[in-house]
């Protein structure tokens, strides 16, 4: 009984030390820390209520190659052809249209839609302000991530609405980088300009 109590005590001490070390090490990351009480996985309060404007319905997307879950979101979706039309629009460089890449640094640097701005939802403070400057007044903001089951583009859409970018200007390209690159569309390499 004494030995059993000792083992439980040792386990408790280890657990308490791990909590202390874990939170301490997390604090050392500075701005790059996990914010303990921030819900990183909110998709917006309109999920499932078909609240997209202009009669567009909230969509549920499935992906054949990653058949794990259905992604629900309230945002307007664009098909590949619609995204290509925007990309080829002669006014694409005037700021009317904006492409936002919601993937992480390595993926963005390896290749992204030319002209896209990166926005990492999990390190929002680093990315959101330059994005908001460009997004404010844009007619269509096309947000994408890896495609498949990737949800980060949905989270970035929510971030944009949280920063008062009009809901009707935000469009989700759920085919994402996977579809764009697989169809041989132009790409650009290199780090984000922030």
């Amino acid at each position: 009984m004494h030995a059993f109590k000792r083992i439980i005590f040792e386990a408790l001490v280890l657990a308490v030390v791990a909590v202390g070390v874990g939170f301490g090490a997390n604090a050392l990351r500075g701005k790059g820390m996990v914010k303990p009480t921030l819900n990183y996985f909110e998709k917006g309060g309109l999920v499932g209520k078909a609240a997209a404007p202009n009669g567009a319905k909230a969509r549920t997307k499935t992906d054949d190659s990653q058949p794990i879950k259905k992604l629900e979101h309230p945002y307007q979706e664009l098909t590949f052809d619609e995204v290509v039309d925007i990309f080829n629009d002669p006014t694409v460089d005037t700021g009317h249209y904006l492409f936002v890449d919601a993937r992480k640094d390595e993926e963005f640097q390896a290749g992204h839609i030319p002209g896209a701005i990166q926005c990492n939802h999990y390190r929002l403070e680093e990315y959101i302000y330059p994005l908001i400057d460009r997004a404010d007044g844009a007619e269509k903001i096309v947000v994408y991530c890896g495609g498949g089951n990737c949800e980060d583009s949905i989270f970035v859409c929510k971030d944009l609405t949280d920063f008062d970018i009009p809901f009707e200007a935000i469009y989700l390209y759920s085919g994402g980088w996977k579809e764009w690159s697989q169809k041989g569309m132009p790409s650009e390499k290199g780090a984000a300009t922030r």
Binding site: A11, A18, G22, R29, P36, T37, L38, Y40
Partner: protein, 188 residues
Amino acid sequence: MVAEGDAQRERGGDTVTASRSAFRRLMDSGWPVLMARLVLGGMFVYMGVMKVGDPLKPFNEEFLKLIRQYHMLPETPAIFLNGTAIVLPWLEILCGVGLLLGLSFRGAALLLAVMLAVFTPAILMRGLAILAEQGGSFFNVAFDCGCGSGVVVTWKKLLENGGLFLLSLLVLFSASTRFSLSTRLHSR
């Protein structure tokens, strides 16, 4: 005839007793527990370090996403999910170091046994969910379980975890304290 049967039983009994005492001698030598501690400790330090990454760089969101995929923790309040992502890798590292050094190693073995008892069925359930959607053979199901080793084949990971669970039980229930730092500290 009866006497011959008794003699055979006696010989059999002697063999069992001899192998039991050999097993006990082996366990008392402390080597099996030491080997178990080194394997368990090495594995968990490695897996914990892989999850922590560079502690001075921004956190890797992948681990947070991978924990979420199991749907074992509520998303609100966020502290459950985020706290797990913050603490779990360090708990694994501390338990691993404890086992390697022989410091609080039974407590570490208990924690690892509990973690493995929770995570292994979770990996199985996730593998079965993927199988239900994808079809095909369970032996081909592979995904990133968030274990620190990237994409793994599910059945191999389950076997590995089963082995680690048995090793943690061996360390937990063994009476041997040889080759441990805590014994040396207490003997002073």
